[in-house]
Symmetry: C2
Subunit: 290 residues, 2 copies
């Protein structure tokens, strides 16, 4: 909210990107790696249904901000986790939750270095803050796309809530780092709110418009085009690629990640051209479906 930014002090000069990208990016006084900072919250009844296996909740709580680190080309480092728990939580609930967090931390090389547990008089609430690092030349922002760049997505879209995929996805960290190392990749973000919501944000940050072919979207089995555009919680990467770099990048991608499609779905256009109309059905605030 712009109203809010006006109430906050001007960020210090070491802040390269603050509010408005997947992560905040900070230039350290020493060394060449940039620092990444991200926070992400899960609310019971919004991001997971009451009764969801605690282990799944823990996994998702850590993997969501990991997906943002992935979208910058970054490597995750340290996590701090706050849990506000309803009075009814048993030792088994806590253990399940931290088993899921621990699994995700081990899988992705994250050190959990602190946190806090408090009582919630309402639903459960989890907040995860993550630090990460990215070499300067590997950083990808939302703002780097140019008119004419190709628009691509990793994996397949749609049906995440219905299938439960939102509770067991793996953040695209390796893919993000690999793509970060490719000069031809001009912008990147993660798909959490659905392509119909997220692509306009990337275009806005880059000062472009876009045309996509909705029929070309890589969809999960049984998903309609609308679902692929609007369901959200895909946790795939959305990126733009200079057309020159695309043929070689695609070939190398297929060798490196043979089981994950990288699909070209459209092209960035001049700002003054109308974008492809997209359904943006995803509502961050709606009750979750599963």
């Amino acid at each position: 909210m712009e109203v809010i930014s006006a109430l906050l002090p001007k960020p210090s000069r070491d802040v390269l990107t603050g509010i408005g990208d997947d992560c905040a990016v900070i230039r350290p006084r020493h060394g060449t790696d940039l620092r990444l900072l991200k926070t992400d919250a899960l609310v019971e009844g919004i991001h997971f249904a009451p009764g969801t296996l605690p282990e799944r909740v823990g996994w998702k709580a850590l993997c969501r901000p990991l997906s943002d680190i992935a979208a910058m080309g970054g490597t995750p480092l340290h996590a701090i986790i706050t849990v506000a728990a309803p009075a009814g939580w048993t030792t088994a609930t806590w253990k399940g939750l931290y088993r899921g967090i621990g699994k995700a931390a081990r899988a992705h090389g994250v050190s959990v270095v602190g946190g806090e547990t408090v009582r919630s008089p309402g639903p459960a609430f989890l907040s995860v803050s993550l630090t990460g690092a990215v070499p300067k030349n590997r950083l990808k922002l939302r703002s780097g796309a140019k008119t004419g760049d190709l628009i691509c997505v990793t994996g397949r879209l749609g049906g995440s809530l219905r299938s439960g995929r939102h509770l067991r996805f793996s953040p695209r960290l390796e893919e993000g780092q690999w793509l970060g190392n490719r000069k031809g990749v001009t912008a990147m973000m993660d798909l959490s709110d659905g392509l119909g919501n997220d692509l306009p944000k990337l275009a806005e940050e880059s000062g472009c418009s876009f045309r996509i072919d909705p029929d070309s979207l890589p969809r999960h089995r049984g998903c309609t085009v609308t679902e692929a555009l609007a369901d959200g919680e895909d946790y795939e990467l959305l990126l733009t690629v200079s057309p020159k770099a695309w043929p070689s990048l695609m070939k190398r991608w297929d060798t490196r990640f043979p089981r994950t499609p990288l699909t070209c779905i459209g092209r960035m256009t001049r700002r003054d051209l109308p974008p492809t109309p997209l359904p943006s059905g995803y509502d961050h605030l709606r009750p979750t479906k599963s």
Copy 2:
């Protein structure tokens, strides 16, 4: 909870202090300053009463973790803030909240670099994550106290909830940095849960016991000794000082901070001696009084 630590992967070698001190302490690959990481949550109905001025809530939300940075001798850098808001929040509520956050950020040199707002189906929930830095030789931990060290507190204790002080205190950042630069200061922590709860934690981390004279506690006007020990939310600094360093330290403190008392209240003793019995009435999970 030890049960939880066992479920998490072993922290990486750059983690000097993880769960168990005021902040996590991380050794960066480059430079000499250590990095500090802290998260802190406020829950409506626990840490502030429904109906509290949003500006006060915002101030407190940022100042609480700042107090933890102060307790390490650190300098705060960047904050990310998550707010889960009930449906009833108006633009005025949001503005008030961020006005308070902005004031605290300006007063203490913090850059707010990101965050997230989501809907809460229950009470309001705020989570603030802070980074900070501290030169290696200025870092103070809870674990550095030695048998024979004097136990000291800054300011006055007691009555914070009743007087509303918990909503408008200033974290002791300057004092913490100044004390961090004194070699004679052997351990430090902030007083958030009440001396009766916090001193035993410092003693435990240092492998010591303690004797204090409860009547010597610097109290706020109208507070009993029990309130000074057990009310909590003082956000003062608790520190231990080598007896040799005390006379000169006290003199220099009085010159530097003439309006804030630094009071010696007791002494660290051998681990096998019984500690002074203290009331630990503060319950992190109780509903707040004001």
